[in-house]
Symmetry: C2
Subunit: 226 residues, 2 copies
Amino acid sequence: MKIAVLGTGMVGQALAGRLAELGHEVTVGTRDVAATMERTEPDGMGNPPYAAWAAGRDDLRLAPFAEATADAELIVNATSGGVSLAALTAAGTANLAGKVLLDISNPLDFSRGFPPTLFVKDTDSLGEQIQAAFPDLRVVKALNTLTAALMVHPQQLADGQHTVFVAGNDAGAKKAVTGLLADFGHTDIVDLGDISSARGTEMFLPLWLRLMGSLNTPMFNVKIVR
Amino acid sequence: MKIAVLGTGMVGQALAGRLAELGHEVTVGTRDVAATMERTEPDGMGNPPYAAWAAGRDDLRLAPFAEATADAELIVNATSGGVSLAALTAAGTANLAGKVLLDISNPLDFSRGFPPTLFVKDTDSLGEQIQAAFPDLRVVKALNTLTAALMVHPQQLADGQHTVFVAGNDAGAKKAVTGLLADFGHTDIVDLGDISSARGTEMFLPLWLRLMGSLNTPMFNVKIVR
């Protein structure tokens, strides 16, 4: 499948690499290709800049948001929550219409330091804001509740015995995303309901961040025991 | 141990019953004893009114908040989040000073219907509000992330292979609460840090509520797989 992965950071790298490994034709989308390729410093978490990570990966193409999404059949939003709406706007409504968006973003606001707060919550969510801004996009919130390495290689932890969630208004889109998650190795995928249930998974982030602090690793996930 | 359980609803009943079963001397605290005993209707969730539930339980005493807490060594806040500060105020600062409070409350606001929203979140929490209002109370947020039956009988589900959390500023108080949780049967108790980490567990409620809807049962819990 032709897939656009928007975002060149840790999450974008993880998704793009794994999707290419699974045989998909992946284009990574960014605001400014030259600026992305010129960056030589690791990000705040110590992850490599895109150019260093992508060196030698001839199966990946880097393109501006609009070009990356133009012929994509499915789009992954792996941008930071604070720029997600801008990135999708730059992609352009015409390039998004009717397509499935796997939305991994979280509305994290680091302006007051760590731990971040949420710039939308409780009565709204970033997933819903994206769906409202692009009504013809078939938004599915998923994978925003665990670290990038486990999003795409869940079997690394407890043989994959843990849970991920999908939330969205379009049953066909949820089926497509669920299929991808299963291809990644996820075995327990809980459908939470319509896109408003993204509120729940986005509001899980403060607990996730505290757990990362207590456990001193991001390599954990929840399992819904029932 | 002499324990006061504030609140006569589902959570108060579960805690009071289990603590008495474990041999503790339990007094249930309420605003108005006569009004509580006169109530004959089940609550909104179909749980029995206190008088029906307590009938024949000679090991439990019902008293106004101040009387219930006066000689208690440990206090459980099992009131609805919206009235928790009022209940503790009615108990009186002198009756709270120096004592451990196991705070189970959640800041749920049902005024706009179901699902409820949170009346405090993200940059503050009900746990912190209680700690700030009663600086001499040793507040430990715990058990607010699962249904009442599983709070006190975790072994009912997957032999207890699931997780609960504690958050609080006082190490001794967290140790006391952790001991009680272990007595209930909890085997995986994660210390999230100071009372500000109550934000994380309170903000988990929206996800919990969506999960209850999707799974069609409250008899589930998270396990932190790591």
